[in-house]
C-alpha cells in the first residue's frame, strides 16, 4: 500500500486501483473482436521490439509471444483471460511508475530547483551547488487568473487542468504555479522519453507524472491509458492533460485539441452519477503558460515547417539536422529567459459551459443549472458514445477559445509578427515557404517602417485586449514602438543560437526567419488588420 499524499485524501490501495482499471478497460473493450484486438497488440509490439537487447523489453516480448501462442486455440473465456492479462500488464506499467513518496515532497524541492533552471545556471554549476540557493521564484513566474475559484472547485469535485503546451519546461512551471497559488498538485501522463533527460526526470518524478510510452501504438495500450485517466478522476485525483497532445510545433496558440483524454472526464462524470458519488462533478481549468522566449523554439519550428511545407521547405534546409544542432538544443535546456506568466482561466464543465464558484454550470446568461440532464433520461444515465464525442468536441472548442483569451502576448511576439508582416507586405507574391528562403537583403527593413507596423499591432491588440479577447504583457502596453523594438531585440539576443532579428544602422534585419515566424505565429488566430504597404505609411 502506497500513500499518495497530496493527490488522494485517503491511502490508495494500488492493487485495488489496478483491479479497478482492469475491470474498467475489459468492460469497455469487451464487445470488440477480442482475438483481433489481442493479435494486433502482440503483432505491433513484437515488430517494434525486433532486435531489442534491453532485458526488460526482451522479457516483455517473450510474454507477448506466449500470449500469441495461446491465442490460436483460445476459447471465449480464455480470450477474456488473455485480454485481462495484457490490460493488467499495461496497468502495472503505467500505475507502477508513479512514485508517490517522492511526489509528496514535490512542493518542498521544486521551487528551489526550478529557480536554478530559470536563472540560466549551467549544469556543472548546478551540480556543484546542489540544490542550495536563495532564489525568489515568485518574481520569475507570475501566476494570475481564477485561482480563488479553482481553490473552491477542488473541494467540490475533481479538477482537470488543461494547459497550453510550448515547452518541456511546462510541467515544472505549472507545478510551481500550483504551489505558488496554494493549489493542490495534479497527476499527469508524461512521455517516457522525457524521463531520459536527467534534469527533467528529476522534476517529473516530483510532479506526479506517470510514464506514458508513446512508442506503444497498439489500440489496447491507448485504451488502458484512457482507463487510467477515468479511474484517477473517479478517485478524485486532480489531473492535468495537455489537450494539444504535444508541444505546439508552430508556436501558434492551440485551438484544435485532441479529445481522447478529455473524453475520459465525461465518462468519469457519468460513472460518478451512476455510482451516486457525493461529488460527481468535474471541472476543467484552461490554463495558459506564457514565455517571452521558448526553450525549444528552433527545434519545434523546424519540425513544423518540414511537416507542413513538405518538399518546398526541405530544399535548402537540411543543415538543421546536423549534430551540432542537437548539442545546441541540449545546451539551451539550461538557459531559459524569464519571466513566465501562468494564467488560470475561467473553469468549464465537461460540456464546455462556464462554472461558478459553487461548482454550478452556467447557461449563456449566467444562470446556474445542474448539467446531469445532458446525459440522463428519466433520471437514468444513458450511455451514448456518439453524443459524448459531440459534447467533448464542444468542450474542446471552449478550451481553444479560452486559450486565445488568456494567452499573454509579449514584446517578442509583437516584434516578430511585425517583421513577418513586413516580409509579407514586400513580397506578397511569394508563399510563406519561399519568403522564408529569401536572402538577407530582402529581409532588411528601416526602423521607421518596423515601428509603424509595431504601432499598428499594438493598437489592434489593445483593442482586442479591451474586449477580453487576449492579454498583453506589460512590455507591450504603455511603451512606444521604439521601446518595444529595443527590448524585444535585446531579448532575442540573450538566448537563441542565432538571433531572430537584429538592428544595425537604422535597419532591422530578420536574421533567422524561421525563429521569427515561430514567435510571430503566437498572433496567428487573432483578427488583425492587413499589414501596412511597403514603406509603412498608413
Amino acid at each position: 500500500m502506497l500513500r499518495r499524499e497530496g493527490i488522494a485524501r485517503e491511502p490508495v490501495d494500488d492493487e485495488a486501483v489496478i483491479a479497478e482499471l482492469v475491470d474498467d478497460v475489459a468492460r469497455r473493450v469487451g464487445s470488440r473482436e477480442l482475438d483481433l484486438l489481442i493479435n494486433d497488440c502482440c503483432f505491433v509490439e513484437e515488430k517494434r521490439l525486433r532486435g531489442t537487447k534491453d532485458p526488460e523489453e526482451l522479457a516483455y516480448r517473450d510474454r507477448l509471444r506466449e500470449v500469441r501462442r495461446r491465442l490460436a486455440w483460445a476459447s471465449d473465456a480464455e480470450l477474456n483471460d488473455l485480454l485481462r492479462e495484457l490490460i493488467e500488464l499495461y496497468a502495472r506499467e503505467i500505475h507502477g511508475h508513479f512514485d508517490a513518496r517522492t511526489y509528496a515532497n514535490a512542493t518542498k524541492v521544486l521551487p528551489r530547483g526550478l529557480a536554478l533552471l530559470l536563472k540560466n545556471q549551467k549544469p556543472w554549476l548546478m551540480l556543484r551547488q546542489g540544490l542550495r540557493g536563495n532564489f525568489t521564484l515568485a518574481d520569475r513566474i507570475v501566476t494570475s487568473g481564477q485561482t480563488a475559484t479553482f481553490d473552491k472547485l477542488v473541494e467540490l469535485g475533481t479538477v482537470v487542468l488543461v494547459p497550453t503546451h510550448l515547452s518541456n519546461l511546462d510541467s515544472p512551471v505549472i507545478g510551481f504555479a500550483l504551489h505558488q497559488a496554494g493549489l493542490p498538485p495534479m497527476i499527469y501522463g508524461a512521455g517516457k522519453n522525457l524521463f531520459s533527460n536527467w534534469l527533467l526526470s528529476y522534476f517529473m518524478d516530483h510532479l506526479g507524472a506517470y510514464k506514458v510510452d508513446r512508442l506503444k501504438k497498439q489500440a489496447l495500450y491507448k485504451e488502458v491509458l484512457k482507463g487510467y485517466s477515468r479511474v484517477a478522476l473517479r478517485h478524485r485525483w486532480h489531473s492535468l492533460f495537455f489537450p494539444g497532445g504535444t508541444r505546439s510545433r508552430s508556436g501558434e496558440v492551440e485551438v484544435k485539441l485532441k479529445k481522447g483524454l478529455m473524453g475520459t472526464a465525461l465518462e468519469a462524470y457519468q460513472d460518478n452519477l451512476r455510482a451516486g458519488s457525493p461529488r460527481p462533478r468535474l471541472f476543467f481549468i484552461p490554463t495558459t503558460i506564457n514565455y517571452h522566449l521558448v526553450l525549444e523554439a528552433e527545434t519545434l519550428i523546424d519540425d513544423h515547417l518540414q511537416e507542413s511545407g513538405k518538399s518546398r521547405y526541405i530544399i535548402s534546409d537540411d543543415e538543421f539536422s546536423k549534430p551540432d544542432r542537437v548539442l545546441n538544443f541540449v545546451r539551451s535546456m539550461m538557459a531559459m529567459e524569464n519571466p513566465v506568466e501562468v494564467v488560470f482561466g475561467r473553469p468549464l464543465d465537461p460540456f464546455g459551459n462556464f462554472v461558478d464558484d459553487e461548482g454550478n454550470s452556467l447557461d449563456p446568461h449566467g444562470r446556474p443549472f445542474d448539467p446531469r440532464g445532458y446525459v440522463e433520461s428519466g433520471g437514468q444515465v444513458v450511455a451514448d458514445a456518439a453524443r459524448d464525442r459531440e459534447y467533448t468536441g464542444r468542450l474542446g472548442d471552449a478550451i481553444g477559445q479560452a486559450f486565445l483569451r488568456d494567452t499573454v502576448l509579449f514584446h517578442t511576439h509583437v516584434l516578430a509578427a511585425a517583421l513577418m508582416r513586413r516580409m509579407r507586405a514586400h513580397h506578397p507574391h511569394l508563399d510563406l515557404y519561399r519568403r522564408l528562403l529569401l536572402g538577407v537583403d530582402a529581409r532588411r527593413f528601416p526602423i521607421q517602417e518596423v515601428d509603424a507596423e509595431v504601432r499598428l499591432l499594438q493598437e489592434s491588440l489593445m483593442a482586442l485586449a479591451e474586449r477580453g479577447e487576449v492579454r498583453l504583457g506589460a512590455d507591450v502596453v504603455g511603451v512606444t514602438p521604439a521601446e518595444l523594438r529595443a527590448t524585444a531585440l535585446k531579448a532575442f539576443g540573450r538566448y537563441h543560437n542565432e538571433r531572430a532579428a537584429t538592428e544595425r544602422e537604422g535597419v532591422v534585419i530578420v536574421q533567422d526567419a524561421r525563429l521569427t515566424l515561430y514567435y510571430a505565429n503566437r498572433l496567428e488566430h487573432y483578427p488583425l488588420p492587413a499589414p501596412l504597404p511597403p514603406g509603412g505609411a498608413r
Partner: protein, 317 residues
C-alpha cells in the same frame, strides 16, 4: 416525448398538426395574442386553414411552452435570438431543439448556433426539405430531412413526425442542411426573376445546377458536406420552389424583374446576410451576389447578362 411548436404561421401550424396526429399531445405557441385567441376559438388560422385536433394545446406563455422535451422553432431567423432569450430561463439540459428556419440569422450565424449561444440546450437540429403545407393538409405525401450531430435529436423528430404521409430522413450534416436552406432564398428570387423575364426551362436548369455549385463552395468553406446540397434540403427543396408559382419569394422575384419592388424585407435581409458571409469566407457566390445587386437597384436583365458572360471556366474545380 412531449413536443412544443414555437411559431404558429403556416409551417408551424402544419408541424403541430402533423405532430398531433394519432392523438399525441402537442403545445403550440404564438407571439401574437390575437392569433392564439383565433387558434383557440376556431382551431384553425387564416395562415393554416386546417382544423387542429384537440390534442394541440394553445399555450399563452413561454414558461408553459417550454414544458416539453422537444422544442420545434418555426419562426423567422431574425426572431430566433430574441425568442431564445425569453425562453432561456425556462429550459433544462435534457431538452432537444429543432428549427425549421430556412435562412441564417442577421448576424450571419446559422440558427442552430444562435440557439446554442442563447440557451443551455446542446442537442440541436434543423428541419428541411420540400414541404408544401397545402399539399400536406390535402393528405398528399412528402419527405423532410432532420439534421443534427446528435442521433437522439434525429430519432426524436423521426419518431414524432414520420408517418405514411411524411417520410423523414436523418442527416448528421447540420451545417449543410442549414446552408442549403439559406441558399433557397436567392434561388427562389432568381427563379421568379427568370420567370418575370419570360425565360424558359433551360435557364432554370442552369440556375439550379450552378446554385448547387455555389452552395457547395459555401459548404466546403464552413466545414459542411457538399453532398447535402444534392439532398432533400437542397436541390429537393429548390426544385419545388422553382416550380411553385405561388411561392412568395418566386412572386417577389417576378415583381422585381418587371421593375417592381421586392416588398419582402425578410428575404432582402437573408440575401444580404449570405453575401456578407460569402465575402467573409472568401467564397464566390455569383447567383446570390447577382440577386443582391438587383435588390440594390441594378436591372435584372443587366445582371443576368453579366452572369452569362462571365469568364469561361471548368464546370468542376
Amino acid at each position: 416525448m412531449s413536443a412544443v411548436v414555437l411559431g404558429a404561421g403556416a409551417w408551424g401550424t402544419t408541424l403541430a398538426w402533423l405532430l398531433a396526429r394519432g392523438g399525441q399531445p402537442v403545445r403550440l405557441w404564438s407571439s401574437s395574442e390575437a392569433k392564439r385567441a383565433t387558434l383557440r376559438a376556431e382551431r384553425k388560422s387564416p395562415a393554416a386553414p386546417v382544423e387542429l385536433p384537440d390534442s394541440v394545446e394553445i399555450v399563452d406563455t413561454l414558461a408553459d411552452a417550454a414544458q416539453a422535451e422537444l422544442l420545434l422553432f418555426a419562426v423567422l431567423p431574425r426572431h430566433v435570438r430574441s425568442l431564445c432569450r425569453e425562453l432561456a430561463p425556462h429550459l433544462w439540459p435534457s431538452q432537444q431543439a429543432v428549427h425549421a428556419a430556412k435562412g441564417f440569422a442577421p448576424c450571419g450565424n446559422p440558427v442552430s448556433t444562435v440557439i446554442d449561444q442563447e440557451t443551455l440546450l446542446l442537442r440541436i437540429g434543423a428541419l428541411g426539405g420540400p414541404v408544401v403545407p397545402d399539399e400536406i393538409w390535402a393528405g398528399q405525401g412528402s419527405a423532410a430531412v432532420v439534421a443534427s450531430r446528435y442521433s437522439s435529436v434525429i430519432d426524436a423528430v423521426t419518431d414524432r413526425l414520420a408517418s405514411e404521409q411524411m417520410r423523414v430522413y436523418g442527416n448528421r450534416d447540420l451545417a449543410g442542411v442549414e446552408i442549403a436552406g439559406a441558399v433557397r432564398t436567392p434561388i427562389a428570387i432568381a427563379a421568379g426573376m427568370l420567370r418575370g423575364l419570360g425565360l424558359g426551362h433551360a435557364v432554370n436548369a442552369v440556375l439550379l445546377t450552378r446554385g448547387i455549385a455555389e452552395a457547395g463552395r459555401l459548404c466546403e468553406a464552413l466545414g459542411a458536406d457538399q453532398r447535402t446540397v444534392s439532398g432533400l434540403s437542397g436541390i429537393g427543396d429548390w426544385m419545388l420552389t422553382v416550380a411553385d408559382e405561388g411561392d412568395p419569394l418566386v412572386q417577389a422575384g417576378q415583381r422585381l424583374a418587371r421593375g417592381g419592388e421586392l416588398a419582402h424585407d425578410e428575404a432582402a435581409s437573408r440575401v444580404a446576410t449570405l453575401v456578407e458571409l460569402a465575402e467573409r469566407e472568401g467564397v464566390e457566390m455569383p447567383i446570390t451576389e447577382g440577386v443582391a445587386a438587383i435588390l440594390g437597384g441594378r436591372p435584372a436583365a443587366e445582371v443576368l447578362q453579366d452572369l452569362m458572360t462571365r469568364k469561361a471556366r471548368p464546370e468542376f474545380q
